[in-house]
Amino acid sequence: MALAKKEHELIVSISPHIRSEESVEKIMWTVTLSLVPAFVAGLYFFGPAALMTTAICIVSALASEWLVEKMTNRELTLKDGSAFLTGLLLGMNLPPTAPIYIPIVGSFVAVAITKQLFGGLGFNIFNPALIGRAFVLVTWPKAMTTWVAPTAAFTAMDAETTATPLGLLKEEGLGKLLEVFGDKANLYWELFLGHSAGSLGETSVFALLLGAAYLLYKRYITWQIPGSYLATVAVLAWVFGGSDPETGAFIWFAGDPLIHLLSGGLMLGVFFMATDYVTVPSVRRGQLVFGVGCGLITMLIRLKGGFPEGVMFAILLMNCFSPLIDRSFKSRTFGLAQKKEEKKEHKH
């Protein structure tokens, strides 16, 4: 016998016999890592309350996962990072000073109901963190729309409550928004840095873009959804977002796309939730449709709806369409593009 191993000890398995080093765990923890800058920015602007809210979210997300898997006798998957990530994302989507029951209930709805009851990771139709947030938003609308000013790092006093930039824009118009922030340049700058009221992880565009750039660089996300989503928002904001500063009357092509791009939960939603593998279309061409759809619904809600912000509902609504989009935009099988090729050759 030439081999050190006996015959029955040789491993027989199907090809391929080599695999890449990518894994579900690696993906989840990398996305978690990419959220760290925005989370740190949230801590900086909103202080210990933000840390508390997020920590409760994560702990209860993990507990929910453990509980359901224990009850249903399934393999424990805490280590895959998925529940941790859902908890972190939910936390970053909550007001920093949300009462303690909000993160607990939100995480339970996100992980136990939206994910686990649908079959666990890979089988959920909706983005778990967003369903969690939607649930607590409609259940406790008052607490979920009480925002504190981003002053934790600057004052020792109790934070004062205020409105988000989008809330101001919707309720009192652009004039009021500029009055609060001084001038447009300052408004853009403060929004970019994250020095504005909002959910604790959504305000700092700069920090979010940092994380997004890392994910794009690692090719964990691709440009299709973020690109089409942001472009749609920008165009619609420009076309339909304008109004006369005096009378408030609607003016075509007079909106300010930058305000819409920089404010609210757009950047967090676009790069970290509208790119959630499980709940969005898989085919790249379909992803463009998904992104445009998200952009349309977001702007419809922001400009015409009852809420100042529409990212969450936009993504959730488009989640419903993901399977349909995938069916309609199947990838092109090699050898079906035959006719096109022939046409090209004729031109030569």
């Binding site: 030439a2 050190a4 090809s15 391929p16 016999h17 593998y277 898989s282 085919v283 090699f334």
Partner: protein, 437 residues
């Protein structure tokens, strides 16, 4: 200038450095050979010898009248000691002829043809048929079938496949370095047999010296072009190669290269064709790369068909450390073999021995998270994730909506899958449970 290639694909570590510098050396004569009567795709041969009969090397020991088939020859001289079912590398029991080697290496008389390029197309095809030539890249499809296209499908280009995109394998590379002129002659024979004016040789660009050698060897031939290809798996797949070099896509749903006027042959096959036509030599030996982190002395061996895998392991210094997995072929599409008593056949391109550290051990996998990686890399433009999900759910018929039968099981999807899903297995399962069309 960017190199010719196809859409999709992956870059697995190529590991060719283990054996690329080892010149082809003949393996020592084995004590016995086991020659399966079916080493090819198509009808198995019938035994043409009896137990106890003395045979010479090169003698036909199995043949059949069927068109899609290839005769098999004795690779050594000696005595037939058994005819029966023996395991092959794919784990199946196949009718085989066992010859005890008398080590005299006595050959049947071979007919040489010095002016082979003046032979008619029919004569060339007959010689290739008689020599039992099959595709040596791994698929082992009888070459003569590719040389007999129906009239309504005229062939205008022959492509020699020197891509060798499987990790570890270096046999074709060594042949291109050591015997480039004969490979070019083989291509010229193919071109004459099919009446074709254009020949191309595609080589992945991680073998620049092979590209240079082949260019040199083909420098006198104005209608033969040697092309460097982008290094990307599965560049050596027939359809991908045709797309890259000729810019034509073999039609989906059962299309063949001949549908776009192309015939593809492996460079090793071209050499075998040259030897068959020039010297009348049947296909009784081939180059086998023995490599992997689990073998002491990786190399490229000229091996008699029917030699056992165990014999080759001994030739290469035996296993190094705990060798736990042996592959016939490369790691992307090769078969794991369960015994070292299986024989080298006409389609055996390599023997890869892997130690524990290189083996993806547990068969555990997770649910699909729809990350799109498999869709991005699939060279056939399929949606492997859907195939695996549907097959796992047991709805095999629905797999056909996703062009199940266009998958040629290259394993690119499973390689990139972060959930480690056995996608190729799911595809084979679905294929076995439903019919094309």
């Amino acid at each position: 200038m960017s190199l010719a290639t196809f859409k999709g694909g992956i870059h697995p570590p190529d590991k060719k450095e283990l054996s690329k510098d080892a010149a082809i050396t003949p393996a020592s004569a084995p004590d016995r050979v086991v020659i399966p009567l079916s080493q090819h795709i198509g009808a198995p041969c019938n035994a043409q010898v009896e137990i106890g009969q003395e045979v010479k090397a090169g003698q036909v020991v199995g043949s059949t009248e069927a068109f899609v088939s290839a005769p098999v020859h004795a690779s050594v001289s000696g005595k037939v000691v058994a005819i029966g079912e023996f395991p092959n590398a794919m784990g199946r029991m196949v009718p085989s002829i066992v010859i005890e080697n008398d080590k005299k290496d006595e050959w049947v008389e071979l007919t040489e043809t010095a002016d082979y390029l003046s032979l008619s197309s029919e004569d060339l095809t007959q010689k290739i048929r008689d020599a039992g030539i099959v595709g040596m890249g791994g698929a082992a499809f009888p070459t003569v079938v590719k040389l007999s296209p129906p009239k309504e499908k005229p062939i205008d280009t022959i492509i020699l496949n020197g891509a060798e995109c499987e990790p570890y394998l270096t046999g074709d590379y060594r042949l291109m370095l050591e015997r480039p002129e004969e490979i070019v002659e083989g291509l010229k024979i193919l071109m004459r047999a099919l009446g074709v004016k254009k020949g191309m040789i595609g080589i992945e660009n991680n073998k620049p010296d092979a590209v240079a050698r082949m260019k040199e060897a083909a420098s006198g031939e104005s209608n033969i072009e040697v092309c460097a290809l982008e290094v990307k798996y599965p560049q050596g797949a027939e359809k991908m190669l045709i797309d890259a070099l000729a810019g034509r896509q073999v039609p989906s749903k059962g299309g063949l290269p001949m549908d776009v006027g192309v015939v593809v042959q492996n460079v090793g096959t071209a050499l075998a064709i040259y030897e068959a036509v020039r010297y009348g030599k049947p296909l009784t030996e081939r180059v086998v790369t023995v490599s992997g982190e689990g073998i002491a002395m990786p190399g490229n061996l000229m091996v008699k068909i029917g030699t056992s895998v165990g014999h080759l392991l001994n030739e290469c210094g035996g296993p190094k450390g705990e060798a736990v997995k042996m592959l016939s072929g490369g790691p992307m599409m090769g078969f794991a073999i369960y015994s070292e008593d299986v024989p080298v056949t006409k389609g055996t391109s390599g023997l890869v021995v892997l130690p524990e550290a290189e083996v993806v051990h547990d068969g555990k996998f997770k649910p699909c998270i729809r990350c799109s990686r498999c869709i991005d890399v699939c060279p056939m433009g399929l949606m492997p994730q859907m195939l695996s999900i549907l097959s796992e759910a047991g709805v095999y018929e629905e797999c056909k909506e996703y062009d199940l039968f266009d998958c040629f099981e290259c394993g690119t999807c499973a390689f990139v899958c972060p959930a480690k899903r056995p996608i190729v297995q799911f595809v084979r399962l679905a294929k076995s449970q439903t019919k094309p069309g």
